[in-house]
Amino acid sequence: MGKYILKRLLLIIPMLIGISFILFVVMHIAPGDPTSVKYGLNPDISESARSNFNKIYGLDRPVLVQYATWLRRFFFLDFGDSFMDGRPVISKIMSRLPATLLLQASSFLVIFCVALPIGIISAVRRGGLFDRTMTVAVFIGYALPAFWLALLLIFFLGFKLQLFPVSGMVPWYAVYIGGFARAGDLLWHLVLPVFATAFGGVAALSRYSRSSMIEAMGQNYVLTARAKGLSERRVILVHALRNALLPIITIMGLTLPGLISGSFIFETIFAWPGMGRLGYEAIMNYDYPVVMGVAVISTFLTLLGIFLSDIAYAAADPRIRYETRRT
């Protein structure tokens, strides 16, 4: 098992390099460049100022050479300085990362804790009122564009009913209130962004867990468990669920990329001071070092998530365990 984990961890490095190369090239192929944004709108900027800027940041050299330079610094976790304000990219990202992780982790938790019970109950009471209601709700959830839902939430719950704050994470008054009140305020600010980001995930995962549970409940070992005289609760929560969870673990790992790419949209909509919004602003400004930094960190988080779900799968399914057994 230890060897397997190490191997999988080391595999992340070449994957990260490969992905970063593609990102770098795509970013440079995309039309426009930093100087067109920074100086293009100002007619007083001369051609020489532009070429001077390109020279300072090495943008006049071939893309491959630029990538090599970027990669060399990347190995020392140096992502360079932002074009916009000259601050180191790594410190910009680090100041934004906690907000993003908080939002992602909350969404992830909500997806798991809401979707799984929905799936289980729907599977057990298949065809019942709850199941049918949820089927309709889930397909509506699937069909709704999440960013539109986010805007609706802001309009109705935030603006019309004034139940939740419409944007931001930590308001100006936070410094004046105590620790618990501040935490409560943070949770209160989390409600709408988490609702919007988790909605699609809940819809998808509840469907997966429903079908996974239905499949598990039709297996022979469930009949065996019943024939042993176990309570229905035990049959469902131990025998069926433990097997139904296996595919769900993989699917949970696969929802991570969606959450991370979604953060670009939702952090912008909710003015959430996270990495996604930083990345969005950087893309709009052709701030190459920041774009690369955010993209690489997002890639790393995604790969890490998939790695963790693989480990969890191996831990949950004895058939693919790599350790030597105790006998």
């Binding site: 070992y221 005289g229 105790r326």
Partner: protein, 268 residues
Amino acid sequence: MDEKILEIKDLTVSFGENRVIEDVSFSIKRGEVTALVGESGSGKTMTALSILDLLPDTACRRKGEILFDGKNIFDLGPEELRDMRGNAIAMVFQEPFTALNPVIRIGRQIAEAVSAHGICPRSEVRERIKESLSTVRLPEETVYQYPHELSGGMRQRVMLSMALSCDPAILILDEPTTALDVSIQKHILDLIRHIQKDRQLTVLFITHDFSVVRTIADKVCVMRRGRVVEQGAKEDVLGEPACEYTRQLIACIPVLGDKRERLPVVDG
């Protein structure tokens, strides 16, 4: 030893309009091995599942009753029914490869059966599992293993030990050797026969194989298309089958040195 422990009366079960069991009646006496014989689809397994009231949701019981110790099991409440399953009437299924839960250790799966009925104090559960494993001649270490680490024959032994762990009054064996290869079949069959003799177990043995019937059964019950077409003592049924269908089935047993190129076709 002439006491009826289980009596099935006029049992009729259908899937929609399709009647898979029709007016089935037979009884099982204490300490006897009753063989339920028939081709695939003749309703043997559905009859067995009815005894545990574990028919699939889509099945519908039209009429009939099953008396266990004089009480109709269809009148039992859910909790009484749960306590009956595994404890009073235990069942071993045909497919040992899928009948055990792949993610739970063997020891735990047997322990569940024992502790579900509170038949012995928690501290003695371990001892009881060891005992039931040794009855089926499996090593003690099997408790730490997962089903995928065991062969088909070993898994069927586990199923058997699980069924025996609660000392059931009736043991239902649903084609326990069909999924195994021939050399293992004989071992398992010998084991079952040995345990049956040893404990004077009451067994309902479901099979399609008359050669197995010959070695193990006291009484035979032949089913065809959901109906019991013939029943009686083994000697009578095998010696002088009254029903044409039974005769055809018996004619299908290949004998060593058999020169026939084709076995007779049974009109199922």
